[in-house]
Structures are given as C-alpha cells and as structure tokens.
C-alpha cells in the first residue's frame, strides 16, 4: 500500500510510541486495572501490524466548514488540528502499552471537525472490516466539536469472514467543545476468533453534552476502556453500553468518570446479557476532584444472566473529594424470574420468545438513552443480528 508522507511531528510521535511500547511492562495479575481480566488474551505473538482492515465511509451531506476526512488525509491537510487533539492524555485504565502500540502503528481512521455553531444532523458512519489473517489493525476516530456544534458518529467493526483471526486496537478521541453535543456510537461485530481493544477518551467542555455508546456483539475477547473527563462547568456525559456475550466470549469493561469541574454530571449505564459460558468484567470508577462541587455522578452496571453457566463480575468504585456531590453506583446480576416467563406465556407467547422479549427490552433500556433515532436503530439491528445467532 502507498504511504503518504506524514508530518514530522507525527513521525516523531510514532518513534516515541514505539519506544514507549517497549518500556511499558505487560499488564500483570497485580494490576488493579486487570483484576479478573484474562491476560492470556494479550499474547499477540504471530500477529503482524498491517493495514489489514478495509475502511468504508458513509458520509451525509455536510454543512460548509465541516471537516470529515480519512485520518491519513487529515494528517496531511489538517496537521495542526490533529496535533492539537490526537491522543492528548495517557490512558488510565490499564492499556497504556496498547495505546502506545496503536499510536506507533495507526494509519487509518476518521477525523471529524465541526466548527462553532454548525450542526450535522445525520450520523457520519465508518465501517472497519478486518481482512487477511493474523493481522493487527489500529483504527483511529478523532471527533472534535466547536462551540455549540453538533455531530454524531457511528463506528462499525466487523470481519470479512468467520475464520480469520485478527486483532483490532481502536482508539477514539472525542472532544466536545463548549455547549456542543457530541454523540459517538461503536458497534463491534467481529468474528468469534478475533480480539478487540477499544480505548475511548472523551473530554467534555463547558455546558457540552457527550454521549458515548458501545455495543459488543462479536469477538472472542473484547476489552473496552472508557474515560470521560468533565472539564468544563455544566458538562454532561452519558456513558452507555449494551453487550451480548455468548458461548465462550469474554468482555472486559473498565470505565472512569472524572469530574474535574463543578456542576458537572455523568450518567453511566452498562447492560450485559450473558448467554452460555460467557464472562464479563465491569470495573467502574467515579472520581470527583477537589472543587468539583455540585456534581452528580451515576454508575450502573446490570447483568442479565440468561444461563446459569455465565459469569459476571462487577467492581464499582468511588473517590469523592468535593462537597455537595450526588453519587450513586450499583451493579446487579439477575436472571429472568419464572413468574415473568409464566406471565408472558399465559398470554400465548412461547417460552423462547418470552425470554427473547425480555432480553431485548433489557438491552433497549440502554439504547434508548442514546436519544438519536438513526443510531438507536443501528444498535437495535445489531442486537437482533446477535439474537438470530442464539
């Protein structure tokens, strides 16, 4: 594949990142951020970094001034902007080493910049299709909104076929400027022999609203690290997820709600429906800085155990250093009660359809919070695709 010339700053950054990757130790059992995690999945031996994935864009008509280009083109044409926002902060949730690997190898992805007071109504959609076998790909999505701007972006991750094992290490940087509304949604439907690490970092400015949604359906193992930093007063962040692991799939979710300014609020809702021998880990942290008064932070992880062979681990955490703070965190694991099933059956709904109806409703509760019909439909379709395999 032809390589375009990258700016010097970026070439330097990639050199540094290569060195960083070597110096960062591999995660170990002792790391709090990898507790209950499956470290065996981090053996990437035999995989080669490559532009294995095919990337397709589906871009609606855009108002003047909006930049929406492939990442490599952005490096060439909007170097300053990319430099300003690209992976500004160190990941805090355990994947520093893999973020460095991403940085060292990233070539493709999407760059979106929406200038002040410009609204993009329809979602911008990117589809990453993993191809070839034993390849590693590093898609990057960087979305920046100016003052009072609005945009929504959908990232899809899938595999070209069912048998080729690949690894995808994706990073998405979301920077929501003052008063803006930024919605991001990722739908992960890799094949069952591939692995995924997704590192999400969201910065929310004054009076801005950011929503980040992750739907996990595929992959033998997926690790999601989501960090939202509420930087400006009045910032609001929704962190949402719905995942449906089945068989021997394992999903490992780590979240961080960082309230760095007063009058900020964050709302996290993760919903997992687990089938078969699936396993999930959820570890969530809320941090309220000194001075970040009048903060509301909510964190909820709900697991619906569809089979008693599945396993869900939840580890909520709180650190509050300010006053006048409303925080709550909780996790629940429940099965569908016999009474619910009986009730649905007593209305003529066959048992498997009754269970499906409840599981669908369970996922939908997180999806509805997206507040964007096109994205909600896209996620619900992925939910149905998953159900059709069960």
């Amino acid at each position: 594949m032809m390589t375009t010339t990258v700016p010097a700053w970026f070439a330097d950054l990639q050199d540094e990142a290569r060195a960083e990757y070597d110096t960062h130790p591999m995660p170990s059992r002792r790391d709090e951020t990898w507790r209950f995690g499956n470290l065996k999945q981090l053996d990437f031996g035999g995989y080669t970094p490559d532009e294995g994935s095919e990337i397709r864009f589906s871009i609606p008509e855009l108002p003047d001034g909006v930049i929406c280009v492939p990442f490599e083109e952005a490096l060439e044409k909007h170097s300053d902007l990319v430099q300003k926002y690209f992976m500004r902060n160190e990941p805090r949730l355990g994947s520093q080493k893999f973020a460095a690997l991403h940085k060292a190898n990233v070539k493709n992805g999407l760059f979106v910049y929406v200038p002040d007071n410009v609204q993009v109504e329809k979602p911008i959609e990117v589809s990453h299709v993993l191809k070839g076998s034993n390849k590693m790909t590093f898609p990057h999505t960087l979305v920046v909104t100016g003052k009072n701007a609005q945009v929504s972006v959908l990232d899809r991750f899938s595999s070209a076929n069912d048998d080729d094992a690949n690894i995808c290490i994706a990073v998405n940087d979301l920077i929501a400027g003052e008063g803006s509304r930024l919605t991001y949604c990722a739908i992960q439907e890799l094949n069952l022999v591939s692995r995924m690490i997704q590192i999400n970092e969201t910065s929310v400015g004054k009076d801005a609203t950011a929503k980040a949604f992750t739907m996990n359906s595929g992959a033998q193992w997926a690790r999601n690290e989501a960090l939202s930093i509420l930087e400006g007063e009045g910032a609001h962040s929704d962190m949402l997820s719905c995942s449906i692991p089945s068989g021997t799939q394992q999903f490992d979710q780590r979240t961080f709600q960082h309230h760095a300014a007063p009058h900020t609020n964050s709302d996290l809702l993760y919903k997992n429906s687990l089938y078969g021998n699936a396993k999930t880990v959820f570890s969530g942290l809320i941090l309220v800085d000194e001075g970040a008064h009048y903060t509301d932070a909510y964190q909820t992880c709900r697991n619906l155990m569809m089979d008693d062979t599945a396993e869900a681990n939840s580890m909520p955490g709180l650190e509050i250093n300010a006053d006048q703070v409303k925080c709550s965190h909780g996790s629940t694991s429940a099965t569908i009660s016999d009474e619910e099933i009986f009730y649905l059956r007593a209305r003529g709904i066959p048992p498997h359809k009754a269970r499906r109806l409840i599981a669908r409703g369970f996922s939908a509760e997180a999806v509805e919070k997206l507040g964007n019909e096109a994205l909600e439909d896209a996620v619900l379709e992925a939910v149905e695709r998953k159900f059709s395999t069960l």
């Binding site: 009474e339 649905l344 059956r345 007593a346 009754a354 409840i358 409703g361």
Partner: protein, 251 residues
C-alpha cells in the same frame, strides 16, 4: 361448547388444595365464584391457565372438548383461555405495547407479520374504553403500576386477545367504584354468545356491574353451593358463616 372442570383434585407440595371441583361454563354465560379467602379460587384459575406450582392429582379440564391439562401454558392461551390475574407480574424492560403485540403475533401463522398500524389503532381504542392514558403503551409491563392500573391492564389484554373463555380473579380488588364501573364496561362489551366468563370475587359489589348467570360458592377446595345471581346478594347479607354451621345440606 363449554369449559368443563370435572372432579379436579390438586395439591401444592403435599397439601391438598382442590378437593374435587366440578364446574361447567358454557359459552355465552357468566359464572361467578365467591368464597372466603384461602378456599382455592386462585388455585383453580391458575390450574386452568397451566401454572406448574400445582400438582393435578385427578380430574379433567376440557375446553370445547379439548383436554387443556395436556397443553403448555402458552398453548392454552393461544387456544383461547385467559386469566386476568389477581396479582399480575411485573416485567421490567418490556413495554406494554410490545408485550401485547408479541402476544398477538404469537397467534399468527409463521411468517405472517402483525399489521402495526392496525394494531396501534385497535390498542388505542381499547385503552380509550378503559380510560387508560396513552403513556401506558410505553411503560414497562405493570412496573410501578398501582393496583388499579394493573387490573385495568389485565382487562386491556383480555380485550386485545379476544379469548374464548375469560377468567377474572378478584379484578375488583384495588379498584375504586369509578374504576370498577369502567372495567365492568370493558368486560360487558365482550360478553357474547361466543364467549364464557368465570368471575372470581370476594365481594358481591362487582356482580352489580357484571351480572352473572350463575353463582357458585367455593369453600375448602370444593364448590359447595350453586344458584342464580340472587345467591350473591344472600351471601352479601349473611356472609360465609353458614359454611361453618353445616347448613350446606340445605343448599
């Protein structure tokens, strides 16, 4: 054409609850069962519906000649049995509209899709009869509903599913007089030659609004007395004390 219960004996765990119930509800008739708490009224209704907490020891339940006890719960419902529960379950996450839609969809042959537009039109018109706010379509089934709202929701389902035999278990409890009239209006609108009703109630009040053709008294797992609708009034006057005093012989 009727729902026929013959010599039904049933246990829960080792305890005998039903001790030989005999009852026939022909289409076109409304039968009421009254009786003190704990006499087995809800047990009877749940056994007809197919709840598996109960062991049927002997006896039969047939609907228009078909053996109900051989069928699964959902199959019985699709065949035309409906129970408005005394204590309806809550189903978090599933909207009322999607629930009723799934129930109707389950009655269609494979590959046939329910017409969504016609469905909502029908649903709204039934809700109007029951004076239910439209917001109940999107709320999770019975979750956070008041007692009265749950009962109305049961009748809504009954009106939507148009069963052949309807059993109403203490639908009046939790309803104030206005709500009771509304629910009765819904039930009465469904009375027809094609449909049988079994109305279970502790109080005579409901029967002022849903006038029964026959009234039965249940006590300790048996029907101990049957009569016309006047029997309900008599019971209202004299209560169930006669059951203890061995006046059954005069029944």
């Amino acid at each position: 054409m009727s729902l026929v219960i013959k010599d039904l004996h049933a246990n829960i765990d080792e305890t005998q609850i039903l001790k030989g119930v005999n009852l026939e509800i022909p289409k076109g008739e409304v039968h009421a069962i009254m009786g003190p708490n704990g006499s087995g009224k809800s047990t009877l209704s749940k056994i007809i519906t197919g709840h598996d907490d109960y062991d049927v020891k002997s006896g039969t339940v047939t609907m228009d000649g078909v053996d109900l006890l051989e069928m699964d719960v959902d199959e019985r419902s699709r065949e035309g049995v409906f129970l408005a529960f005394q204590y309806p379950a809550e189903v978090p996450g599933v909207s009322n509209a999607n629930f009723i839609r799934a129930a109707l969809q389950a009655r269609l042959p494979d590959g046939e899709e329910l017409d969504a537009v016609a469905y909502y039109k029908n649903l709204y018109s039934k809700m109007d009869v029951l004076e239910m706010d439209r917001k109940f379509t999107s709320r999770a089934v019975n979750e956070g509903f008041s007692g009265g709202e749950k009962k109305r929701n049961e009748i809504l389902q009954m009106m939507m599913l148009e069963p052949k035999y309807c059993i109403l278990d203490e639908t009046d409890s939790g309803l104030d007089i206005d709500a009771l009239k509304i629910v009765a209006k819904g039930v009465n609108a469904m009375r027809s030659e094609e449909r049988g009703f079994l109305v279970i109630t502790h109080y005579q009040r409901l029967l002022d609004y849903i006038q029964p053709d026959h009234v039965h008294v249940m006590s300790d797992g048996q029907i101990v007395k049957s009569g016309g609708k006047d029997l309900a009034l008599e019971l209202e006057e004299s209560g169930y004390d006669f059951l203890k005093e061995g006046e059954l012989a005069n029944a």
